[in-house]
């Protein structure tokens, strides 16, 4: 990728010793031109040791903050180092670096401020379990209701944000399961949000951070925080030249 823009890939990592090195190696091989930063959220397994041994670029959080606090730390880093685009990519091997360009392209072209890699546009690859799809559909509907903008894969952690949004996320980012909230906040603050079709894989090893036991709690909490966001963020008009729907 010979692009003059400074690009940083943020990879959150919590107890991902089984996948993290493969993910980083994959990324380095596929996209040698981009910088990356693993955010080790105080993993209790060997993740930190592995990252150090392999000489990876990583942040080591001294206490566990949860995915939101960790990602925000990544956005702070991106802001401090003047990156033009920050891309979030999961550390569990679900997101294929081959699609990095697909997700990046609308942001680099200036069409979108936030581009979400969506597995539901082309409906190919791993589509997650039925219950989760129902949950994602519900959150997607709720976000549409709250801001009038349709985003299909609201929980996707594969997303590219431009410099303006990096600045915004560095100051405001939800704490626990932040993807839907970040999406809504970006929409409500007048950022142009869209999706690009990607194919996701099933996680390559380890366990997901969202267990089925917690999902009811998760749904209630996310729904509530979305509604609170809608009430607390004054709605700004979307910038002219905004593109509705997905950027294909």
């Amino acid at each position: 990728m010979n692009n003059p823009a400074k690009i940083l890939v943020l990879i959150p990592c919590y107890n991902e010793e089984a996948n993290i090195i493969t993910t980083v190696d994959n990324l380095r091989r596929t996209c040698p031109g981009v910088d990356y930063l693993v955010i080790n959220d105080c993993s209790t397994d060997q993740s930190a040791t592995l990252l150090r041994q392999h000489g990876c670029a990583y942040l080591d959080l001294p206490v566990n903050l949860g995915i939101g606090g960790g990602m925000q730390c990544g956005y702070l880093y991106a802001r401090n180092h003047g990156y033009d685009v920050a891309v979030q990519m999961d550390g569990d091997g679900q997101h294929d670096p081959a699609y990095l360009e697909t997700v990046l392209e609308p942001v680099l072209a200036g069409q979108l401020d936030l581009c979400i890699g969506s597995r539901f546009i082309k409906k190919e690859g791993f589509q997650t379990s039925f219950m989760r799809r129902v949950g994602i559909r519900f959150l997607s509907g709720l976000i549409f209701l709250l801001c009038g903008h349709r985003v299909l894969d609201v929980t996707s952690g594969f997303r590219a944000a431009n410099a303006r949004l990096i600045h915004y996320f560095a100051d405001h980012y939800a704490i626990d399961y932040p993807e839907p909230e970040a999406t809504l906040a970006a929409c409500l603050n007048g950022f142009r949000v869209g999706e690009a079709p990607v194919i996701m894989k099933e996680r390559q090893g380890g366990v997901s951070s969202i267990s089925s036991f917690k999902s009811a709690y998760y749904m209630i909490k996310v729904s509530l925080s979305l509604i609170i966001d809608r009430l607390s963020i004054p709605r700004l008009p979307r910038r002219p030249g905004s593109k509705k729907g997905s950027a294909q």
Partner: protein, 119 residues
Amino acid sequence: MTPQFQAFMFLGALLLLITIFLLLKKGMMTIKYSLLWLGLAIALVVFAAFPYVVFVLRDLLDIQMPVNLVFFLMFCFVLVVLLSLSIAISQLAEKCKRLTQANALLEQRVRRLEEEKRG
């Protein structure tokens, strides 16, 4: 209110007041968080020393037993304290998060500088 209860309340309130002052003196509680408790302790002392205040309030709210009014007010007060604690915890969590992030960014910077120095 029976005189026994009144005396008990007075002593209890006094004990609370002294405890708060001791905590403040030893620096185990900041003024900010002590204000609410001081308010409660003083109100209780006033109630115990001058039951007339309670009787007036009882008549105003038309409550049968004056002692119920005291319980009710204390319960309301405890709710306020709990709410204020939740607010304080949320603020602390936010500060803690920011500190953790700053720490992680600094740690990475130091690590990079050390690596550069080592060559």
